[in-house]
């Protein structure tokens, strides 16, 4: 398979430096592909299913490669920048996403019925909660859903989400708060007026 070009005794090259080098040596971009393709694919697969992810993950890297000169290291890191391309592509599949979420909502799942003392979901209620969550996510404004899912699934911080979506950090916070409030409201049993910002 792919031979690694990073020798164990040499520190791997910084993402941003690699990207910068790929301006003049485009082949270097392949290394970023190796670092992040699986992760980006998994993220898209979680939102749209693995079949769609096969196409969109590949397109994410094509789009990022073509626009690589637009990457500004002053504004952040390569990883969130890649999530930005993935998010844009997901945005062109909104109907697919809503269908996917609706299908998930109908499928029996296995929510853990543990009580964390926060948002306890009894086993008896888990199917219902699952359905409600799917519906709630599908009903979010796409802008809010992007922020919420980047936080939940991609493990990006506010600053990184802001970089990925090209919005200020404060806006990330307010969108995330709004999205979480809506989801909690849909799940019921929670005080919708409570401020859930972390």
């Amino acid at each position: 398979m792919i031979e690694s070009h990073e020798r164990a005794d040499a520190p791997p090259e910084d993402d941003a430096a690699l990207l910068r080098a790929s301006w003049q040596e485009p082949d270097r971009f392949a290394e970023l592909f190796h670092r992040y393709f699986a992760e980006i694919h998994r993220y898209i697969a979680r939102r749209l299913g693995s079949e769609v992810a096969d196409d969109l993950a590949a397109e994410t890297f094509l789009a990022a490669f073509r626009k690589r000169a637009g990457f500004d290291p002053e504004r952040g890191a390569v990883r969130p920048w890649l999530y930005g391309f993935a998010t844009n592509l997901i945005g062109s599949h909104r109907r697919t996403e809503r269908r996917y979420l609706a299908a998930l909502a109908r499928t029996p799942g296995d929510f853990v019925a543990e009580d964390h003392g926060d948002l306890a979901v009894g086993r008896a209620d888990s199917e219902q909660a699952r359905g409600a969550l799917g519906v709630a996510l599908g009903g979010l404004h796409p802008r809010d859903r992007d922020v919420l899912l980047l936080a939940a699934l991609a493990d990006l911080g506010y600053g990184e989400i802001g970089q990925a979506l090209g919005i200020p950090e404060g806006t990330v916070g307010s969108r995330l708060a709004r999205a979480r409030r809506k989801v909690r409201t849909a799940l019921g049993g929670v005080d919708p007026t409570r401020d859930f910002e972390e």
């Binding site: 082949d27 699986a38 979680r46 096969d54 789009a63 073509r66 989801v183």
Partner: protein, 376 residues
């Protein structure tokens, strides 16, 4: 359980992409990189599978550096040689402007990369990653593009290298240092790690895929960096844009003349553009500051042409000094070949005498045709 945790369970993390998915995506990216806009060691990644990107990346580390200008003794285009350069390229532009267009732009080329085998004082030079590429790019967006490739296997560079190789027992595999790791070249087509199969393989880009790529390549208005990185759209290309593209980042930046020669070579050979734009590319090549007349030069097939050269220091650790040469047919002005010639070998290239062909491509064909896509 918080709602974020519930979301993570509703949308569970899967096993990740299948190997075939990764390979397909790599192939697409490799083709994009190979057809992209910046200079590189070319064609090593076209239409290849997983291993291709690895090989292309490996070889590409040796790509020409842009940081350090070549030795100052290299003559420039302003001397008497420069006059020949101007005259020849203006004639080339006139020829190009009159070329009739066809349905497909076909480029049939053979490329290969030289590696030194054995000790610096002795040994011989083998050419690896020799591949033949036949690329048919349709003028119309509604016709598919087709790419054929095959690996030709490694072989000694010159007769003297062949003799040394035979003295060494005619090994069918040789271990060579490639930028940052050892790689093994095989004389059997398709057997070198990271090459295409020995037999012809093909890949087709459908009109739908072409359209998608064109859509994705659109840049926000005013985003100069994006515009540069985006592939050239032959339908909206202007001479102004071409100048910007060929002289990237701008004509005053020094030490990147060889890259400009490469940009122009790529443009002249790979793009289905109008005769006017091809003519403009020849005129712009004459304006590359460091370009000089190299006289009659033979390409890797032994065909004679006019060589136009620019000097460069390799970026890799060895810092070999090289000349890049574009070889043009004296009559038709078409591209016959491109090569990188050792001026002073360094690093892993040590042992290569001045004049050794470090990398070469020959163009068996680069022009319009109305034939249906097929390989030789």
């Amino acid at each position: 359980m918080t709602e974020l945790e519930m979301i993570r369970e509703l949308l569970p993390d899967a096993a990740g992409p299948a190997q075939t998915t990764i390979r397909t995506a790599e192939k697409l990216l490799a083709a994009e990189i190979a057809g992209g806009s910046r200079p590189r060691r070319r064609y090593l990644s076209y239409g290849l599978g997983a291993v291709a990107v690895g090989a292309a990346a490996a070889v590409a580390v040796a790509v020409i550096g842009s940081g350090s200008p070549g030795p100052s003794r290299a003559p420039t285009a302003t001397g008497s040689g420069g006059t020949s350069v101007q005259k020849f390229l203006l004639a080339a532009a006139e020829t190009a402007a009159k070329e009739p267009v066809g349905r497909y732009w076909r480029v049939l080329t053979i490329g290969g990369q030289s590696y030194h085998v054995g000790p610096a004082n002795g040994g011989y030079t083998m050419v690896g990653y020799r591949d033949e590429t036949d690329r048919w790019t349709a003028r119309s967006m509604t016709d598919p593009d087709t790419l054929y490739t095959r690996d030709l296997g490694a072989r000694p560079l010159t007769a003297a290298d062949a003799a040394a190789w035979r003295r060494a027992g005619s090994p069918t595999t040789v271990r060579v240092w490639s930028n940052d790791h050892y790689t093994t070249l095989s004389t059997t087509p398709g057997r070198t790690y990271g090459t295409v199969p020995g037999g012809w393989g093909s890949s087709v880009t459908t009109p739908a895929q072409k359209k998608k790529i064109a859509m994705q390549s659109r840049c926000p208005p005013g985003d100069k960096a994006c515009e540069f990185a985006a592939p050239i759209d032959p339908r909206t290309l202007t001479e102004q844009k071409l100048r910007q593209y060929l002289f990237w980042p701008n004509p005053t930046v020094k030490g990147v003349d060889a890259e400009r020669v490469l940009n122009t070579l790529d443009f002249l050979t790979q793009r289905p553009v109008t005769p006017q734009m091809r003519a403009a590319a020849y005129r712009l090549l004459a304006q590359v500051p460091g370009i000089r007349w190299a006289g009659t030069v033979k390409d890797a097939l032994g065909r004679s042409g006019i060589g136009l050269a620019a000097r460069q220091v390799m970026r890799e650790a060895g810092q070999s000094v090289i000349d890049v040469q574009i070889i043009l047919d004296p009559q038709t002005h078409k591209v016959l070949g491109y090569q990188q010639v050792i001026v002073k070998a360094g690093g892993a290239d040590r042992g290569m005498a001045p004049g050794t062909i470090l990398y070469s491509e020959v163009y068996l064909q680069a022009g319009w045709t109305d034939a249906r896509p097929h390989h030789p």
